[in-house]
C-alpha cells in the first residue's frame, strides 16, 4: 500500500521533506519510524490524516503521516 510521509524541522536533516513510499499491509507508525531511523524520542508529534496517533496505530492505503520533533512557540 502507498503512504505519504511528511517530515518537519530537524527530522528533514539527511532525510526528505515529503515522500510517497510503499509499505506492506498492517504497517504501524512504529514500523515507519524504525524504517526511517527516527527514534521514539525524536518523533514527538505524529499525525495520520491530521489527527494525533500513537505509535501502534495501523496505517491504511492512502494515509498521510506527518512527523514532528519536539517543537514549540506561541
Amino acid at each position: 500500500m502507498q503512504i505519504t510521509i511528511k517530515l518537519f524541522a530537524t527530522l528533514r536533516n539527511n532525510r526528505f521533506d515529503s515522500s510517497k513510499m510503499e509499505y506492506s499491509a498492517g504497517t504501524t507508525v512504529l514500523d515507519v519510524l524504525n524504517n526511517l531511523s527516527i527514534s521514539e524520542k525524536e518523533a514527538a508529534i505524529i499525525f495520520v490524516n491530521g489527527r494525533h496517533v500513537e505509535r501502534d496505530h495501523v496505517m491504511l492505503d492512502g494515509d498521510s503521516v506527518s512527523i514532528f520533533p519536539p517543537i514549540g512557540g506561541g
Binding site: 528533514r12 514527538a44 499525525f47 491530521g50 519536539p70 517543537i71 514549540g72 512557540g73 506561541g74
Partner: protein, 595 residues
C-alpha cells in the same frame, strides 16, 4: 520651546532595588509632574500582578479608556534587572480601548531590565494633558526629565529611535508609540527596542499604544548607565538556581533546539498539518501555501541571505527564538516575523510570500501596530471585498492607509470588529472585541476555551492550551473533543498569570511544564532573590489572585458571562478539514474561574 521638570534625588529609585513607583501626572496644571512613591500596598508585586493590581484598584471601570481617568502602568517583572536568565519581560496595563476591559500587554526587548535597574517597579502615566503637545520622558541615573518635543509628531518608530540615538547616544532603550498610537487607534502597540536598538518588540494587544497616545507621551528614553544589577538576598542560592534553570532550558528540546533554530514560525507546518491553521478569515483549517511561509523555509531563507535565525530579544535570554530577516539583497528588512504575524498576514489573508509578510511586519513595527489585530483586520476587509485574498500588494497598501490615517485607514485601525461592522461582514473572529490569533478554536478546543474566557479577550498566550492540545507539552488533551479543555485552560491561565508577574519569558513554560526540576529552579530563583518561602502552591495562589482582580474589574466594567463566549458561527458552522464545531458547553465555560 521646552517645558522641563528636573526632579531631585528623592524622586529616584534606590540603586540596585526596584522599590519605587514613578507616578507621572500628565494633566497637572503647569505641566506634567513626576513623583517617585513608595510601593505601599503594591510591595511584592511585579509585571502583570503590578499592572492589574493598580488598574483594578485605581481606574474607574466605567471610565473612557482615552480619558484622564485611565492609567497606563508599565512594569518590569519580579526578577527583571537581575542576572536571572529570561527575566526581561515588560508588562503594560490599562483599561483597553479595544475590549473595554482590563488589559495586560507583554513585551520583550531591553526596557524591563533597564527600568528595573533604574529602581522603578512601575511607571504610571496618569491624567491627560490639556494641549496636544507631545512629550518625551527621559529617565537615567540623574533623575527624570519630561519635555515637550513636537518635532517627534507622527514619526514612525524606527525614525524616532534614530533621532533618540542621535540625541542621547546608543546606550539607551526606548519605549515608544508610532503614528497609530498618536492617532489613538485600537490597533496601536507600544514598541520596546531590542539589543540592536531597533523597535521590534511590542506590547501589542488591546490598543495600549492608543492610551499612551491619549496621555501625550511619544517616547520614554531609559538609560541605566551607572546603575547596578539588582542583588539577591541569598546570592549562593540564587546563583545555583539560575544554573539549574539555564541547564533545564538548554536541555529541553523545545527551548534548547527547536526555538533557537526555527523560531516560533515552526508552528506554521504543525498547525496546518493538524487542520487548525485559520485560512481566508477563519474559513478553513489548511492553507496550500503553508510550506512556503513555514519556519523551515524562513530559517533557510534567513541563513542564505546573511540574516540570523538564532537571536535573543533581550540580554539574558538563553532561548534566542528571534532572528533577523534580510531582503534578497542582504539588507535588513525586519526582525524575524513571529508565527502569529506570519499567520495573520500570511495564511489568514491567503498570502504565501515571506518577503511580503516581512515587509508587513516591518510596517506594523514602524507604525506601531499589533500584527495580530492588523492581519485579522485585513482578512475581514478581504472578506468585505476591499482587497482579494492572496493579494500581498493590496495588503501592504491597506497597512499604509492605516499609517497615513486616511478615513479607510482609521476604520482598519479600529480593528477587526470595527472593520467588520463598517463593511457589513458577518463572520468576524473576535471575543470581547479582540481578534483571535493563529489557532482555530474549533480544531484546537483548549485554546477556544481560553479565547472565550480570558479576561484579555481572544488571547493565545493567556492560557496556551496549544501546548497540550497540539504539541504534547505538559501531557496531551485531544484538540478535537471537548473533554478536558476547561481544566487545561484554567490551569494554564492561572500559571500564566503568575509567570507574567515574574518578568520571565513565557517560553520557559515548555521546559517548566515538562521538567519538575526546572519548575523548582524557577521557585528557587524567586526565593533566592527575595529571601521568601514561596512554594508551588504559592505560585498558583498568585496566579489566581491576579485573575480574580482582573475578573472583578471586568465585572465592574459591565462584562457578564455573555462576554465569555465565541461568536455564534463557531458553534453552528462545521470547519474543514475535520468538520468540527466549537461545542464546549456554555455552562462549562462559566466554570473556568471556579474558585
Amino acid at each position: 520651546m521646552v517645558n522641563s521638570i528636573f526632579t531631585n534625588n528623592s524622586n529616584k529609585g534606590t540603586e540596585g532595588h526596584m522599590d519605587k513607583i514613578l507616578r507621572i501626572d500628565m494633566g497637572s496644571v503647569g505641566g506634567p509632574k513626576a513623583a517617585a512613591k513608595e510601593l505601599g500596598e503594591y510591595a511584592g508585586f511585579g509585571g502583570r500582578a503590578m499592572t492589574s493590581a493598580i488598574i483594578s484598584k485605581e481606574v474607574p471601570p466605567l471610565c473612557h479608556p482615552l480619558g484622564a481617568e485611565n492609567k497606563l502602568v508599565i512594569a518590569p517583572g519580579m526578577l527583571s534587572g537581575t542576572v536571572a536568565a529570561m527575566s526581561g519581560r515588560l508588562s503594560v496595563g490599562c483599561k483597553s480601548p479595544l475590549t473595554g476591559g482590563i488589559k495586560e500587554a507583554n513585551s520583550g526587548g531591553q526596557a524591563a531590565q533597564v527600568l528595573a535597574r533604574l529602581g522603578f517597579a512601575a511607571i504610571v502615566l496618569e491624567g491627560k494633558p490639556a494641549t496636544d503637545d507631545l512629550y518625551k520622558i527621559v529617565i537615567n541615573k540623574d533623575g527624570i526629565k519630561i519635555s515637550i518635543d513636537n518635532s517627534l509628531k507622527m514619526l514612525p518608530n524606527y525614525d524616532l529611535v534614530e533621532k533618540m540615538k542621535a540625541e542621547f547616544g546608543d546606550k539607551i532603550s526606548c519605549i515608544s508609540i508610532g503614528p497609530a498610537g498618536e492617532m489613538k487607534m485600537n490597533v496601536a502597540s507600544i514598541a520596546c527596542t531590542d539589543m540592536e536598538l531597533r523597535p521590534t518588540r511590542h506590547a501589542g494587544r488591546g490598543g495600549v499604544g492608543a492610551v499612551m497616545g491619549s496621555k501625550g507621551v511619544k517616547v520614554i528614553v531609559l538609560d541605566d548607565s551607572g546603575m547596578t544589577m539588582r542583588a539577591p538576598k541569598d546570592p549562593e542560592k540564587f546563583r545555583d538556581a539560575n544554573k539549574r534553570f539555564v541547564d533545564g532550558l538548554k536541555q529541553h528540546p523545545v527551548t534548547g533546539q527547536a526555538l533557537p533554530a526555527y523560531g516560533t514560525n515552526v508552528l506554521t507546518n504543525i498547525l496546518n498539518e493538524a487542520g487548525g491553521y485559520p485560512t481566508y478569515n477563519f474559513k478553513q483549517g489548511n492553507f496550500t501555501g503553508a510550506s512556503k511561509i513555514s519556519g523551515e523555509t524562513q530559517a533557510e531563507t534567513e541563513t542564505k541571505r546573511g540574516g540570523v535565525p538564532t537571536h535573543g530579544c533581550h540580554r539574558g535570554c538563553v532561548i534566542r527564538c528571534s532572528g533577523i530577516y534580510n531582503d534578497k539583497d542582504g539588507h535588513f528588512l525586519s526582525k524575524q516575523p513571529e508565527y502569529e504575524t506570519v499567520w495573520a498576514h500570511g495564511g489568514n489573508c491567503g498570502i504565501d510570500d515571506l518577503d511580503s509578510i516581512a515587509m508587513l511586519d516591518f510596517l506594523d513595527d514602524n507604525y506601531g501596530i499589533d500584527t495580530i489585530e492588523m492581519g485579522a483586520t485585513i482578512a475581514v476587509a478581504m472578506d468585505a471585498g476591499i482587497a482579494k485574498f492572496g493579494d500581498a500588494k493590496a495588503a501592504i497598501d491597506l497597512v499604509k492607509e492605516v499609517g497615513k490615517g486616511s478615513h479607510l485607514g482609521r476604520i482598519l485601525g479600529g480593528g477587526a470588529a470595527m472593520t467588520g461592522k463598517a463593511f457589513g461582514v458577518e463572520r468576524v473572529p473576535v471575543v470581547k472585541g479582540q481578534a483571535m490569533p493563529a489557532y482555530d478554536p474549533r480544531a484546537v478546543k483548549g485554546i477556544g476555551v481560553t479565547y472565550a474566557t480570558s479576561t484579555m479577550g481572544a488571547d493565545h498566550t493567556a492560557g496556551y492550551a496549544v501546548a497540550t492540545n497540539i504539541l504534547k507539552v505538559g501531557g496531551f488533551v485531544d484538540p478535537l473533543t471537548s473533554e478536558g479543555q476547561i481544566e487545561l485552560s484554567r490551569n494554564l491561565q492561572i500559571a500564566t498569570a503568575a509567570v507574567d508577574s515574574t518578568g520571565m519569558c513565557l517560553f520557559i513554560a515548555f521546559a517548566v511544564l515538562d521538567q519538575a526540576d526546572t519548575f523548582q529552579a524557577l521557585i528557587d530563583l524567586i526565593n533566592g532573590f527575595y529571601g521568601g518561602q514561596l512554594t508551588g502552591d504559592g505560585v498558583v495562589e498568585l496566579g489566581k489572585k491576579v485573575l480574580s482582580m482582573e475578573r472583578d474589574f471586568n465585572t465592574r466594567a459591565g462584562f457578564t458571562a455573555q462576554q465569555d463566549r465565541l461568536p455564534r458561527y463557531f458553534s453552528t458552522e462545521a470547519f474543514a478539514p475535520h468538520n468540527v464545531k466549537f461545542d464546549v458547553k456554555d455552562e462549562d465555560l462559566d466554570k473556568v474561574f471556579n474558585w
